[in-house]
């Protein structure tokens, strides 16, 4: 991979890594004896390991200029591997936390194994590690193919992909050491946030620069979604993390906002992390891999426009529905609730557009587990968005809020929609990128599919039961007019469902591990594809990707 970079790029990489290593060393010295110093060491080692890898091939010959006529897929390959690595980390911690809630002794009395530290490792590992890496990876693939242009630059994609990994590593290792700014889904402290900002702006410019090179007259829908994801997540990240560090040599910082304004800012961010990270970005993924795999035209371009602008406009208003019945003024809650309901139709229109695209290809859905992953993801997406709008109604929220119903809702989205879509996309992507005829074992894809669906269903039904039971127990009064149940009664009532959840999560994780094996074996062992035309342009400048066989 390094040998495919020009010597100039390799030197540039070493310079940047050198600067990174110096910054890491400075952090390690300034924060010696604290967790901040440990982070310094992590930055230093991370930079040195990559620099060592670059040094190994520093003297390799210059790559052939003809490479510039092809797509740049090396970062995508790395991205696929990293995505699955994060799946193991994120789901591994998730399963642990699930068992921990059913059997509280499973923390073995260490400081770092407390639920408050393990939980953000799970959420960050899944959302930002697994989901974020998958988004970056697939976006590199989609932006090139649908623009018929090579990625802009050879250094930038690596900077984005590996820089982003460093952010997630800093975030997660920080939580285990107790570094946490106490904002859900934005727990990382100020220096990690600043670093992410640098990476994210680079990512945005990379996307824009690649689009500017496109050989297609129009920009495909998937790119609209990816771009809105990158742009708005960047804005949210900035506003939610405006913090003043206590010192330059420590991890602690204080957020500029306070009180209910801070809560509102947090949930404006928190909800739109779901919206633009886990929805818009993933819709971009869906809009490329599903029609590509089904080899069917998108059902309706007009519906795409309607739902894109509907989602983009309405989603940014609805964060306040996370703060029903709180100190937040009621008028803000009403707005959050009503915009959540108005959001429903554009959300569903997208799911409908995806499913109607499959008309004429349902026999493929039956036979091809990869396409079925994407179809099921679209269905779970529809369910999750319906449930989301429903839970945003104040009266419903009075029952559901603070209960496991929220956990059920989130996992319909993350297990059923995000992760299942990622698996479908990766199964479609891997043979193309590694020039394989097919996945190593279609049977294992089939196994993974059913384990993923079964795991999701068991998980979600457990949590629905648990959440509604919990909500009802909390609000049950006896004839005397006092609460019928103590808190510990509700905890004991939830125990069987917690076991159910752990089992569902375990099944899901087994499916994912099977997927890892299959991907690894595809890279190593699957039969090579014959000659594939997967190039942006012929030497004459015409499209050169027409006869890529449907994978």
């Amino acid at each position: 991979m390094v040998a495919a970079l020009t010597v100039g790029t390799r030197v540039l990489a070493l310079v940047i890594l050198g600067i990174g290593a110096i910054v890491g060393l400075a952090m390690a010295v300034a924060g010696a004896g604290q967790a901040f110093g440990v982070h310094g060491w992590i930055v230093l080692i991370y930079c040195l390991v990559i620099a060592w890898r670059v040094m190994l091939q520093l003297d390799a010959p210059e790559p052939s200029p003809s490479r510039l006529r092809s797509y740049y897929d090396d970062p995508i390959k790395m991205g696929v591997v990293l995505t699955m690595a994060w799946a193991i980390v994120g789901m591994g911690f998730g399963v642990w936390v699930a068992y921990l809630l059913a059997y509280p002794d499973l923390r073995y009395d260490a400081a770092w194994t407390g639920f408050g530290r393990l939980r953000p490792v799970h959420t960050t590992g899944i959302i930002f590690g697994f989901g974020g890496t998958a988004l970056i990876t697939t976006s590199f693939h989609v932006m090139q193919r649908t623009s018929r242009a090579r990625l802009a630059g050879e250094f930038t994609p690596w900077f984005v992909l590996l820089g982003y990994q460093l952010f997630v590593i800093l975030a997660i290792s920080g939580y285990l050491m107790g570094i946490n700014q106490s904002k859900e889904y934005a727990e990382a402290e100020w220096y990690a946030d600043l670093w992410l900002l640098v990476v994210w702006i680079t990512y945005f410019t990379l996307y824009i620069r690649t689009l500017a090179r496109r050989a297609e007259p129009h920009i495909y829908v998937a790119n609209w979604y990816y771009l809105s994801f990158i742009l708005i997540v960047g804005v949210l990240h900035i506003f939610n993390n405006v913090a003043l560090p206590v010192s330059w040599s420590g991890s602690r910082s204080y957020i500029l906002w306070s009180g209910v304004q801070d809560a509102m800012m947090q949930w404006w961010y928190g909800h739109n992390a779901v919206a633009f990270f886990l929805t818009s970005g993933f819709l971009g993924m869906l809009y490329y891999y599903l029609p590509k795999r089904a080899a069917r035209p998108i059902y309706s371009y007009r519906l795409s426009i309607l739902s894109f602008w509907g989602i983009t406009f309405f989603y940014v208003w609805v964060g306040s529905h996370h703060l029903h019945y709180t100190a937040l003024p009621q008028w803000v809650q009403t707005l959050g609730m009503t915009f959540s309901i108005m959001l429903l139709v554009p959300s569903w229109a997208t799911a409908a557009n995806a499913l109607l695209t499959l008309n004429g290809a349902w026999h493929k859905v039956r036979d091809d587990a990869t396409l079925r992953f994407m179809m099921v993801a679209a269905i779970f997406y529809g369910m999750a968005t319906f449930e989301g709008s429903f839970l945003a109604i104040r009266g419903v929220n009075a029952l559901s809020h603070y209960t496991d119903w929220t956990i059920a809702h989130v996992h319909v989205g993350t297990l059923g929609w995000n992760a299942i879509l990622i698996f479908g996309a990766i199964y479609a992507l891997v043979p193309v990128i590694w020039r394989r005829e097919r996945m190593w074992s279609p049977r294992l894809v089939e196994w993974h599919f059913w384990l993923a669906v079964a795991g999701t269903v068991i998980y979600v039904f457990s949590m629905w039961n648990s959440g509604i039971l919990q909500g009802l127990m909390w609000r049950t009064y006896n004839d005397a007019g006092t609460l019928q149940y103590s808190f510990i009664d509700t905890v004991m009532a939830m125990h069987p469902y917690y076991m159910g959840r752990a089992v569902g999560g375990t099944i899901y994780m087994i499916g994912m591990l099977i997927g890892c094996v299959n991907i690894w074996m595809t890279i190593r062992k699957a039969p090579e594809a014959g000659y594939l035309r997967d190039m942006p342009k012929t030497p004459a400048g015409d499209a050169d990707d027409r006869r890529v066989p449907a994978e």
Binding site: Y301, P329, Q330, Q333, G360, N478, A480, Y485, I488, V548
Partner: protein, 290 residues
């Protein structure tokens, strides 16, 4: 693909664009979608008219229903208080024997108490008040601070070794760590203490040595015969109930390092009526259940 191309399956035209093999149909937005948009938006607009919704410069639109979440909660709390008041005021004003005599009131106590117990007492004393190491069993009739109505109410009110100015105070000294007894002496007196309730049958020499050590060091709190003193919170050592455990190892640890139990004061957290309910729960409701 040209603009005029039709999808053979649906008969719809494509938009004429193609990206990496992906095309799009120009199908019109289904009517159902427009209807659904109309309905959801109409509902939203209706809510804006009915409820507090849009911000103005210094205020906000109040809504035709005049709903205000703070007033709603205040009203609901007041209504709940009125409901409670029927029985709660009687519990607050009457003494425990009178309440015990009123079957209906006791039924209310039995209904209300478990949640109160679960949220405040269960964490230490357990689900059915049988306690655990360091946390007294409250149904065993072996009371540290007395088991009559007033004693139980007072213990709940002020706690033990708590922050309350009238707190009950007790401390067992660290006889070993404080250098008052040697390890061997501790073992001897521990065996003697075990013998008081028939847990050990030491030889005469040990018994005599233990009795002497007990009289010199322990009797001032636990009494000459080891039956304890509820005014000091000193446990009865002759019965079958043990706060920290009766095995030799635990007894050694108790005598060596001393003990300093703790119970919070509930005066600022629970009302007098609630404390009475809990006292009745411990003294009457739970024993009847078992």
């Amino acid at each position: 693909m040209s603009v005029d191309e039709r999808d053979p399956l649906t008969g719809h035209r494509t938009t004429g664009h193609e990206w990496n093999g992906i095309t799009e149909l120009n199908t019109r937005v289904p009517r159902a979608v427009w209807w659904a948009i109309g309905l959801t938006h109409a509902w939203a607009v209706l809510m804006w008219f009915l409820l507090p919704s849009w911000p103005l410069v210094t205020t906000y639109t109040k809504g035709l229903l005049g709903v205000d979440q703070r007033q709603l909660v205040a009203g609901q709390l007041a209504a709940a208080a009125r409901d409670h008041d029927q029985w709660m005021s009687r519990i607050a004003s009457e003494d425990l024997p009178t309440i015990r005599g009123d079957k209906e009131l006791m039924a209310t106590v039995a209904e209300v108490a478990p949640a109160l117990w679960g949220d405040n007492c269960q964490a230490c004393h357990g689900r059915v008040a049988t306690g655990g190491p360091g946390f007294p069993d409250l149904v065993d009739k072996s009371w540290l601070w007395g088991g009559d109505d007033d004693a139980v109410l007072e213990t709940i009110r002020v706690g033990v070794n708590s922050a309350h100015p009238d707190t009950r105070t007790s401390q067992m000294l660290a006889f070993g760590a404080g250098g008052m007894l040697t390890r061997d002496e501790i073992r001897t007196v521990a065996t003697y203490v075990q013998s008081l309730s028939g847990l050990a049958t030491p030889d005469d020499a040990t018994r005599q040595a233990g009795a002497q050590l007990f009289a010199d060091n322990c009797a001032s709190c636990h009494g000459d015969d080891g039956t304890g003193d509820t005014s000091l919170g000193a446990p009865n050592l002759t019965d079958a109930f043990w706060l920290y455990g009766s095995d030799s190892e635990t007894l050694f640890r108790t005598i060596y390092g001393g003990r300093h139990g703790w119970m919070p004061t509930w005066e600022s957290r629970l009302s007098e009526a609630q404390r009475k309910i809990l006292a009745l729960y411990v003294l009457n409701v739970l024993p009847e259940k078992q």
